[in-house]
Amino acid sequence: MQSYKIMTVVSEVPKRKQRKWIYEEIVDKIPPFRWLPPTWDVVAQLFLVEAVGIFASIYFQMPFEAVIIGSLIIGYTVIWSAGCLYVIPSMRRLRNPTNEQELRVLQEYKDDLLLNRFNELAVGSLCFIGVIAYAFWDPAFLQHFLGPGFGNPLLFVLVLVLAWDVSYRMGLSFVTTLFAARRSIALSYAARRRRGLEYTAYSEVRTLRFLDSVNLYWGATAVVLIPVATHSPLLLMGLLAYLAVILGLSVISFLAMETVPWFPPDVESILHNEKFSYVGLCSKGQSHVTPVIFVYDGKYIYVGISVASAKYRIVKKNPKVSILVDMRDPINPMRNRAVMIRGKAMVLGEISPLGIIRMYIYGLWMLRVRSLFSKKYPRYMKYYDREQDLPLAWQNKAFISRVMVRIKPERITYWREAKPRTLRV
């Protein structure tokens, strides 16, 4: 607990010296890389190591197969390094959740990744020892690749360096994926215990999901190594098991992140429980406000409107929408709460080429939203379904007279006791 107070948060205090990843640290210190921009570092690394490899293969008269295999291994390290370009910047971009428990989870995650080298070194060494032990146990495997140069100490050192490089990267990507899964589970646990206006903004969740996808990318680059391992069943099994573990952890992490709600509980409760909302549209500088029924599926807000209405005509021209949901206090209206959500609207369920493509993509989800509507407004839906003397535009003929508008929240304003407060999405 004490340590969190002492160590300040990454994005706020630029103590970058302390919080560098090992890759950045090495790249920053070695001269040819130090002078290059980060993207070129990766390319330079590829050419340098590849040149050494080709030179060695010519010098030691290795079989042609070895050149390809060696290039694959070098390729793995380079593709992997390319992932580093995205991780550190997005990690620095992470801003603090307002929920203390979630803040602690993220803090711990950052510390584990940026400060604690022990884990990755341990797993990397384990991998390295395994590979080296295998090479000694089954010398024919190396001999097959190295050809006549086998036994030369210089070549042995080269192979060792390459093996360490690969093992360390594999270890590191295993550790990052493991940390990500642990962080996701802890975060979703903490998120379900939020109170009031505490939350993690969705842009942060998106950044974390992006980091997870980089982890998966790192893990998946090990696929490149499969041809290297095809000659020995043991190595192949190990590699496949490794890939399976990475994939499993990524799936766990993804599922856990899916359960993190987008908004703080105060806002969520209003969106889930209130039945009436007002949708504001704007055409040519003239605003247009009408009451509508809506449902909230945890991410987006759906509004059912009729194609004959002015709303539909306006929203087709200008998809900027704001929707206000208020919770009236029966005793004192000064204690009312309200949420205004602004965002872009997308019309679902039209009969038009684009509408049919959207229906194909979102069809199942539209059915779910429709069932949410009939759960939330049973009487309304019955009325729209059964009443025959309604104008056709009002009847609930799906896909002909009624369409769904999906609003993607971009900005939230929350009022409590007439005091507005802006929340980030």
Partner: protein, 161 residues
């Protein structure tokens, strides 16, 4: 059978503001004010309001620096909606949507009668220490009033001056 163009709900055009609409405006407690931000970005707020029969306009009170007042200074075209909610059936929903020009009126020169009416309507909640100093009144002159009750619509338009 295959109707591609839906039949619209019938809209009546009236010369006078319909009486039902006026009664909703007199009874209603909350109004929803829609203003437009630059770039035609709508902004919505729930407001207290009072309808003044004499000048046929809506009065609302807001603070000087609030977003809606800033928006109105830039773009006076606003929309005010007052409605009655019926959770049982949409046939019972009725409401009024007013589109028109908003005008900012300083508290000192605002119509005293209207302001008194406003205070007495909401006095119970605003409390005695309601600070009128930093406030500004918004007066909305309707140019177009649409009124609906269930599936019946009617539309009123102001005569062009």
């Amino acid at each position: 059978m295959f109707q591609t163009k839906p039949i619209k709900a019938h809209t009546r055009k009236t010369a006078e503001i319909p009486e039902e609409a006026l009664s909703i405006l007199r009874k209603g407690f909350f109004a929803y004010l829609g203003t437009a931000e630059p770039g035609c970005d709508p902004h919505l707020t729930a407001m207290f309001f009072v309808w003044d029969d004499e000048s046929e306009s809506i009065y609302m009170v807001s603070t000087r620096k609030s977003r809606k007042v800033v928006n109105i200074r830039r773009n006076t075209r606003v929309c005010v909606t007052v409605d009655e909610r019926d959770p049982k059936s949409p046939a019972g929903n009725c409401g009024v949507m007013i589109q028109g020009r908003a005008q900012l009126v300083e508290m000192e020169i605002a119509d005293n009668l209207v302001m008194n009416e406003f205070l007495s309507k909401y006095m119970h909640f605003l409390g005695p220490g309601y600070p009128m100093g930093s406030r500004i009144a918004i007066q909305v002159k309707p140019r177009k009033i649409s009124f609906w009750m269930g599936a019946n619509f009617s539309l009123w338009k102001a005569h062009k001056v």
